[in-house]
């Protein structure tokens, strides 16, 4: 299933990971992400989203990563939208499942 809340589709059933050139740093508000390739800084302003981003690389699908972080059903659309944004800026990328 895909979502298209921001005009960007995000495949929740795909396998994702933090981009290999991205460094993630936990902060009290969530996390900072820095992409050494694009030299862009991004912000994850929520601890749940931070945990999901970290979990992506060790779960078979993004949906499984959400489940492993106990994301409430009501929060799935907003987390998915945030993941779409991170994918659009290459902070996360697809990986071979």
């Amino acid at each position: 299933m895909s979502t298209d809340l921001t005009g960007q589709r995000f495949d929740l059933d795909g396998a994702w990971q933090l981009h290999p050139q991205v460094s993630i740093r936990p902060e009290r508000f969530g996390a900072l992400l820095y992409h050494f390739g694009t030299r862009r800084l991004s912000f994850v302003k929520n601890a749940v989203l931070r945990d999901v981003v970290v979990a992506l690389g060790c779960e078979p699908t993004a949906r499984a990563a959400l489940a492993s972080c106990n994301v409430a059903a009501v929060d799935v659309p907003v987390i998915t939208r945030a993941l779409a944004g991170l994918a659009a800026s290459s902070m996360i990328c697809e990986r071979a499942a």
């Binding site: 050139q21 460094s23 740093r25 902060e27 009290r28 508000f29 969530g30 900072l32 820095y34 050494f36 390739g37 030299r39 862009r40 800084l41 991004s42 912000f43 994850v44 302003k45 929520n46 749940v48 989203l49 929060d75 907003v78 987390i79 945030a82 944004g85 991170l86 800026s89 902070m91």
Partner: protein
Amino acid sequence: MTAIADHGVRANSLVDEFQLGLDAPICLTWELTYACNLSCTHCLSSSGRRDPRELTTAECKIIIDELERMQVFYVNIGGGEPTVRPDFWELLDYAIAHHVGVKFSTNGVKITPAVAARLAATDYVDVQISLDGATREVNDAVRGAGSYDLALRAMQNLADAGMRNFKISVVGTRHNVSQLDDFAAIADRYGAQLRITRLRPSGRGADVWDELHPTSDQQRELYDWLVANGESVLTGDSFFHLAAYGDPLPGLNLCGAGRVVCLIDPVGDVYACPFTIHNDFLAGNVREPGGFAEVWRTSDLFLDLRRPQTGGACASCSAYDSCRGGCMAAKFFTGLPLDGPDPECVKDHGVAALGAADRAAAPRPSLDHSHRTRPTAVPVSIAPRPPAGWTPACNDDPLAGFALS
């Protein structure tokens, strides 16, 4: 570059979070040496001569280890001219190997074809070539004779080596704001990206700020140009005082001094930002027990900067939420109170404040490593050719006075 991608949910304003400071800087400026082959009139660090107390290679590596532990994403290395340090390339490699990205600023003096090839082949390193005029005349008036050709030679070498998107770093002045399109053309020619930052009255810049800082009309011209060019032109977040014109420029638009950025100088002193080399903004030294992390986390100065700020004289201004009172260093070194308007306040409050300030009593930079001999023109007059056979009295040539026959 600090482009904001806002992916948050239920969040407080990030700017508010940043005003309160982070456990580690996002990035920091590290001036590796005060030595420089040039004597730019506006040098923010009054560089020229090497300081004998300069951090050793081993001390620099300890700092890099610490930055790695703190997860500082990258360092902006400058000087002085950092590449004149014999261990510069060793430290660059060490930082990258320890996951600390490097952006370094240079006048290009050491960017030979071989160095350019090496840089082009290295990830995690970004190069900024300083250029303060799109023409030789405008550039060399500030940066010194030969500096334009030096910079362009370095850019050519980088472009020839296939280095893409290196930065051309321009300090905006009264003499180059009219050249913005020409700078963009130079950047296009070399496959580079343009970066324009604000002139501060810091270091030797205090001596030339009055003549060099853009006029208010030029500030508006600069702002409109930056808005039109969007994220393709970098600004190092240095023009946040211009946000009071209306739309903020891309970036954080806040003063990160002591909150999310700082400066480590060549002798290990930690200042709030690269433009505040003065004892009032000295937080500590990395050579003290606890090193850099201790200074960052516990210095009284930094803790004070992280307290919620009041707008002072600016609090009642409608633009305060946009500009937040402007640049601390710009106020400090022009003799203005820190809780008042920026000297280049777009609402013209700065002009009035400058008129009322005792400019002669403005604080001076605490350090000066300028070359003791500044290049100056030697007056020469051309005398008429002496008559044939004339010999000056001081001529000690043994053949003086003898005519060949």
